[in-house]
Symmetry: C2
Subunit: 298 residues, 2 copies
């Protein structure tokens, strides 16, 4: 990889930009961003790399392209870059769902151009280049998606790239990826959005000013539910089959929980509440969170 082209310079795009530049991984870094607001921010922030004014300029000058746009933009970009992308170029993306987007690459990218999907498990509820951070990938998982035709050589060089970013790399197929993340990420976000919506409905109905008492739980959900709406709409639409199944399982469990608290089923409720501590212990053991009590943030 001599020159990298980052398409889309939001939170993740700008973080890649900073990290690649800091670690001097490629000769050139080219960046394309279509939002004027973000372009103004990027210039003001004096981010490294060269901003190009067309996809063409970035594509012909690079051998490694990373899609960092919302997933709903992929098809349009692929059709545009097909005109001038050179053989030998490797394309990846950082989208959070993979089955549907792999079909877009499969069906629309010019044959013979190499592509392998990536999903770095990182981010925040904030978006935009002003939040970019070169350390955002450190010790975080990055999933690479292996398809039937994926070449080992390309998988190796993509894996090397993410390891240089600080990521821990793991390879799986799109189906497994989308199943796992429907539960660990997509359902939690949808649940958070749904909880905030439910609180809003309740507030309207009861005419109770309840938001000011949100410190006891709602607060944390509201942070998660403040995530970027375009990104999450795309995830919910793309992975709607797996998410729907996850919702069904969630509702089944929720109805059982409701029945248990109505009938004051001590044994069953305590079992649920104690069991979840086991998951927490596992998460701490796997270093997915730190074991520091949270008393709210002041």
């Amino acid at each position: 990889m001599k020159n990298v082209f980052i398409i889309g310079c939001g939170l993740l795009g700008s973080s890649l930009l900073k990290s690649i530049s800091k670690k001097k991984i490629t000769k050139k870094i080219l960046v394309y961003e279509k939002s004027k607001t973000n372009l103004t921010k990027i210039k003001k922030l004096k981010l490294p790399g060269k901003i190009v004014s067309s996809l063409r300029e970035g594509v012909i000058k690079s051998d490694f392209i990373i899609f960092c746009t919302p997933m709903s933009e992929y098809k349009k970009i692929i059709i545009e870059i097909n005109k001038f992308v050179l053989p030998g170029t490797l394309i990846t993306d950082i989208g959070s769902s993979k089955i549907e987007t792999s079909k877009v690459f499969q069906n629309f990218l010019r044959k013979g151009i190499n592509w392998i999907q990536s999903h770095p498990i990182t981010g925040s509820e904030v978006s935009g280049p002003e939040h970019g951070d070169s350390n955002i990938f450190n010790n975080k998982w990055c999933i690479l998606i292996k398809e039937k035709n994926t070449k080992k050589k390309n998988l190796n060089s993509l894996s090397k790239f993410w390891k240089k970013m600080g990521s821990k790399v793991i390879v799986m197929n799109a189906d497994k990826h989308d199943k796992i993340f429907s539960i660990t990420s997509h359902l939690p976000h949808l649940i958070a959005y749904n909880l905030v919506k439910t609180a809003q409905d309740f507030e309207k109905k009861q005419k109770n000013d309840l938001i000011k008492f949100s410190a006891g739980g709602l607060r944390d959900f509201s942070r998660i539910a403040a995530s970027n709406e375009i990104m999450w709409r795309d995830i919910f639409f793309n992975n709607n089959n797996n998410i729907s199944k996850a919702i069904d399982l969630f509702i089944k469990n929720l109805n059982a929980f409701k029945k248990d608290i109505k009938s004051k089923n001590n044994k069953s409720v305590l079992k649920k509440l104690i069991n979840s501590k086991k998951v927490r212990s596992k998460i701490l053991k796997l270093k997915q969170d730190i074991n520091k009590p949270d008393f709210g943030r002041n």
Copy 2:
């Protein structure tokens, strides 16, 4: 209030103990704790106050009693202290649900003894005296529950007490309290427990090791679902009517959400995702959280 008697010395009891002692609010602080494990910790931590070995000793030596035990202990404690509690004593508690516990005070506490319920909106997913913190009440709401017979004089002195603890005091009735907190606190916790349960079920069913990928959302829910099981069982049982209604509203919204993502209803989904940002802004404006991006905790 000359002497205070704290019954139950877990996270909140020990925090009260430290804060009262630090601010020199009462002459004496007496503490009762029935758990031997906690007693050993308290001694090792050299917490202020005097540990008494019987409820009797604490009750007869104090004019202000704070219940800091699980709510399911109240009835037993009340029946025990009825034998020696002196007129002029003011009793409060810090439990998280109020309709059912107010009935326990109403029905079991000796007539003529003054009681007013409190609910300081603070805490953490950890429990035990080793996590006690004198600043835990600072700038947090404390709800005082006004009943028909609540004397203004007692309400004023209890209010003064919590303000000295650093709390912002607000008065409402038990019914309003339990309605509000069913949405802002009880439902979010139940949802978090239910999400962790759903992830466990899914992991078993799919034989996928998914917990290690929990950084994208599940992690935050698992922290909330690591809260004390006795405390939360008591809350879920006591406020099961309001929580059940909240669950019904939540499931109604969740089914609508599922329908919208299945049919890719762009307008409706974007509206939900954008609306929740408004709640977030309100929460930040009301200083219930800080406006600092969360990238996970390392």
